[in-house]
C-alpha cells in the first residue's frame, strides 16, 4: 500500500517537472501553431548551461535559473528570427524540417564541444532523501515540484490578467481575428517563442540534479513533452500541468508494475489514445486538432 503511495507521490512530483518542461512548448505550439522539433535540444542546452554555471561558480542550479533564463530567452530569440520566422507563412513542414535540422545540428555540436560524457552536479544535502511519514523523496524532486507549481500559478495569473496574456489566449483561439483586433501578432510570436524557450531554461535547471546531461538527452524528453502538451491541450497552462502529472503517474506506475522498458511504450500509447479519442486534449479547445493548421 505504501508502495503505491510512494509511486503515486513521486509520479506526481515527476509530473510537475515534466509540466515545466512542457509549458513553454504548449505556449509555442498553441500560439504559433508550429512543431518545434528542437525543443529537446533547447532543454539540453539549458542543462549544459546550468551545469557549466554550477561547475564554474559553485552556486546551486536553482540559483543558476536567474542566469539561464535570459540566456535561453536570447537563444530563443535568435532561433526565431533566423529559423522559425522565415518559415511561418509557408507550409508547416518547412518549420518541421528546419527545426529538425536545428535539432541535428545542436545535438552534434554538443557532442563535438562537450563529448558524450555524462555531466552532473553534486546532489543537495549530500543526497539524503527527505522523509514524510513513510514516504521518501529526493530533495531535488520536491524542490522541482514546488517550483513547477509556482511557475504554473504565475503563468496562469499572467495569462488571465495581463494584456500579453490575453493576447496570447486570443491568438491561440484565432490568429486572424486577433490580428484584426489590433494585436501585434508577429511581435507576439517573437515574445512567445523566446519566452517559451526561457521557460525551458527553468526546466533545465531543475532537471539537472535529477538527470545527467549528455548530447542526446533531449531526445528522451521531447516526446514526453509533446505527449504532455497534447494531453493537456495546446495553449493551456493548467492543461500542461495536469498533463504532466498524468504522464508522471503513468510512467511511475508502469515503470514499477510493468517492465521499465515497456514503461516508455506506455506513454506513447497514451498519446495515441488521446489523439484518437480526444485530440484536443483534456483541456484544449474543441476542434483544434482537426482545423487545418496554417492552411
Amino acid at each position: 500500500m505504501s508502495t503505491v503511495a510512494q509511486l503515486l507521490v513521486s509520479g506526481i512530483m515527476l509530473g510537475g517537472i515534466y509540466a515545466v518542461m512542457s509549458i513553454g512548448l504548449t505556449l509555442i505550439f498553441g500560439v504559433l501553431k508550429i512543431v518545434n522539433f528542437a525543443h529537446g535540444e533547447f532543454l539540453m542546452l539549458a542543462m549544459y548551461l546550468a551545469w557549466a554555471i554550477v561547475s564554474a561558480t559553485g552556486i546551486t542550479t536553482y540559483a543558476a535559473i536567474a542566469v539561464v533564463i535570459p540566456l535561453l530567452f536570447g537563444f530563443g530569440l535568435l532561433v526565431y528570427l533566423l529559423i522559425v520566422r522565415p518559415g511561418i507563412e509557408k507550409p508547416h513542414l518547412v518549420v518541421v524540417f528546419a527545426t529538425m535540422g536545428l535539432s541535428i545540428a545542436m545535438q552534434n555540436l554538443a557532442l563535438v564541444a562537450m563529448t558524450a560524457d555524462l555531466r552532473d552536479v553534486p546532489p543537495l544535502f549530500g543526497g539524503t532523501p527527505i522523509k514524510f511519514g513513510t514516504l521518501y523523496f529526493r530533495v531535488e524532486l520536491l524542490l522541482g515540484f514546488l517550483i513547477s507549481i509556482a511557475i504554473t500559478l504565475a503563468l496562469m495569473i499572467f495569462v488571465k490578467h495581463t494584456y500579453i496574456g490575453k493576447a496570447i489566449r486570443a491568438t491561440v483561439q484565432d490568429r486572424d481575428a486577433a490580428m484584426l483586433m489590433g494585436i501585434n501578432v508577429p511581435r507576439l510570436f517573437l515574445l512567445t517563442f523566446a519566452g517559451g524557450s526561457a521557460l525551458v531554461g527553468i526546466a533545465g535547471c531543475i532537471m539537472l540534479p535529477l538527470y545527467s546531461t549528455f548530447p542526446t538527452v533531449g531526445l528522451n524528453f521531447v516526446l514526453i513533452a509533446y505527449v504532455v502538451v497534447v494531453l493537456g491541450g495546446m495553449g493551456s497552462m493548467e492543461g500542461a500541468f495536469l498533463g504532466g502529472i498524468c504522464v508522471g503517474i503513468v510512467q511511475s506506475l508502469s515503470g514499477y508494475y510493468v517492465a521499465p522498458a515497456y514503461g516508455q511504450m506506455f506513454y506513447f500509447l497514451v498519446f495515441l489514445f488521446v489523439m484518437i479519442f480526444r485530440p484536443n486534449g483534456l483541456l484544449g479547445q474543441r476542434g483544434a486538432a482537426m482545423v487545418g493548421i496554417n492552411e
Binding site: P91, F97, A98, M100, V112, L219, L272, P279
Partner: protein, 352 residues
C-alpha cells in the same frame, strides 16, 4: 509568354516527356541521371564506391516509397522506419526460422507493412498537420520498443544476423555486383511507380486530397480511402526496401533499424530533393548520402559529429530557401533557359 506557361511538353503515347523536371512527365534531366546511375552500377568497381552507390540507391528507393505518402498524399510520416523495419524483420525471421527465401519473405513483409499502413491512416484519419506527424512518430516508437522487448521474435537488442553464405535463393551474394543490380532495380521500379502514379487518375486524386479535402469530397473522391491506400502502398514499398537492406547488411537490430533517425532521413531526402516529385527523392539521395560519407571522411575522428552539424545546417538552409528542393531549382533554371524553345517550336497541348 502566357503567364504560368510550363516548358514544352510532348506526349508520346502513354508517357509524357518534357525538358525540365515537372510533375507528370519524365524529363530529359531525370532520364540522364537515371541512365548515369545504371551505367555507374555496371562500370564502377571500387569496393568503397560501389558500397556508397548501393546505399545511395537504396535510400533513394526508400525515399521514393515515403514520398508516395508524404509527398503525393501530404501524409508526413515520421514513423516510416517502422514499416521499413517490418519488412526487414519479417523476411529475416521467415528466412532464419523457416527457411523461406527472402524473395518471398519480401512479399510477406510488404503485405504486413501495407496493412499496418492502412491501419495507421485509419487511426489518424481525423488528425491534421503537426498532430498527424507526432502521432506517426509515437506509433513508430511503439513498434520500436515492441521489437526491442519481444526477444523471442526479434532477438531484442542483440538483433538478428543472417549467415553470409552465398546463395541466390537466399539472396546472399559474395560480390557486390548482384546487390547493386537488385537495388538499382528497386530504385528504378520505385521511380517508375511514382511516375505512373503521377500520370494516372489515382495520382490526381492524391493531389486533390492533399490540397483540399472538402473540395475533393465534393467531386466524388473518398478522402479517407485515398489516404489509406497511399499509406498502404508507401508502407509496403518501404518494407521491400527493408528486406533488401537486411540482405545486404546481414544484421538487424531495433535501435538502428526502427529509429526516428531513419524516419527523419526519408523525409529529409525528399525535402532536399523536392517533395512530391518523382525525381526529388532521387536527387536528394544522390546529394545527401555521398555528402554524409564525404563529410564523415574529411573530418577527423576527434571531431566526430561535426559532419552531422554541417548536415543539419544544410538541411535548414535548403528547406528555408529552396523549399521545392533540388528538383524545383532545376525546373526553374531549365525554364529560365527556355529549353522549351529548343525542344519544340510550339507549346503543344499534351497528347494524353
Amino acid at each position: 509568354m502566357v503567364e504560368g506557361r510550363i516548358p514544352a511538353v510532348v506526349g508520346i503515347q502513354a508517357i509524357s516527356f518534357s525538358a525540365a523536371p515537372r510533375r507528370g512527365a519524365v524529363s530529359i534531366v531525370e532520364i540522364a541521371i537515371l541512365a548515369a546511375c545504371i551505367i555507374a552500377t555496371v562500370v564502377v568497381s571500387n569496393r568503397y564506391a560501389v558500397d556508397i552507390m548501393i546505399r545511395t540507391f537504396l535510400w533513394a528507393g526508400l525515399a521514393l516509397a515515403w514520398n508516395i505518402a508524404g509527398g503525393y498524399a501530404g501524409l508526413i510520416s515520421f514513423g516510416h522506419a517502422a514499416f521499413f523495419g517490418i519488412g526487414a524483420y519479417t523476411s529475416t525471421i521467415l528466412l532464419l526460422n523457416y527457411g523461406v527465401p527472402p524473395w518471398f519473405g519480401m512479399l510477406a513483409g510488404a503485405l504486413i507493412a501495407g496493412c499496418g499502413g492502412a491501419l495507421l491512416a485509419r487511426v489518424c484519419a481525423r488528425l491534421r498537420g503537426p498532430f498527424f506527424i507526432l502521432s506517426t512518430l509515437a506509433a513508430g516508437e511503439v513498434v520500436r520498443i515492441a521489437a526491442l522487448n519481444w526477444r523471442t521474435l526479434t532477438g531484442g537488442s542483440e538483433g538478428l544476423e543472417i549467415a553470409p553464405v552465398p546463395s541466390v535463393v537466399n539472396m546472399v551474394f559474395k560480390s557486390q555486383w548482384p546487390y547493386a543490380t537488385i537495388i538499382v532495380a528497386y530504385m528504378l521500379a520505385m521511380f517508375a511507380l511514382s511516375v505512373w502514379i503521377e500520370q494516372t487518375r489515382y495520382g490526381y486524386y492524391l493531389f486533390a486530397t492533399r490540397d483540399d479535402e472538402d473540395g475533393a469530397s465534393a467531386i466524388g473522391i473518398n478522402p479517407s480511402h485515398t489516404r489509406a491506400a497511399a499509406m498502404a502502398v508507401s508502407a509496403a514499398t518501404a518494407a521491400i526496401g527493408g528486406t533488401l537492406f537486411a540482405q545486404y547488411f546481414l544484421y538487424l537490430d531495433p535501435t538502428h533499424v526502427i529509429s526516428p533517425d531513419i524516419s527523419f532521413q526519408f523525409a529529409l531526402i525528399c525535402a532536399v530533393g523536392g517533395l512530391g516529385t518523382a525525381s526529388g527523392p532521387v536527387f536528394g539521395a544522390l546529394i545527401i548520402v555521398p555528402l554524409s560519407e564525404l563529410l564523415r571522411g574529411f573530418l577527423s575522428q576527434s571531431t566526430s559529429g561535426l559532419h552531422l552539424v554541417i548536415y543539419g545546417i544544410i538541411v535548414i538552409i535548403v528547406i528555408l530557401y529552396f523549399p521545392s528542393g533540388v528538383s524545383g531549382a532545376i525546373s526553374r533554371v531549365a525554364s529560365r533557359f527556355s529549353l522549351a524553345a529548343g525542344f519544340s517550336a510550339r507549346v503543344q497541348a499534351r497528347k494524353m
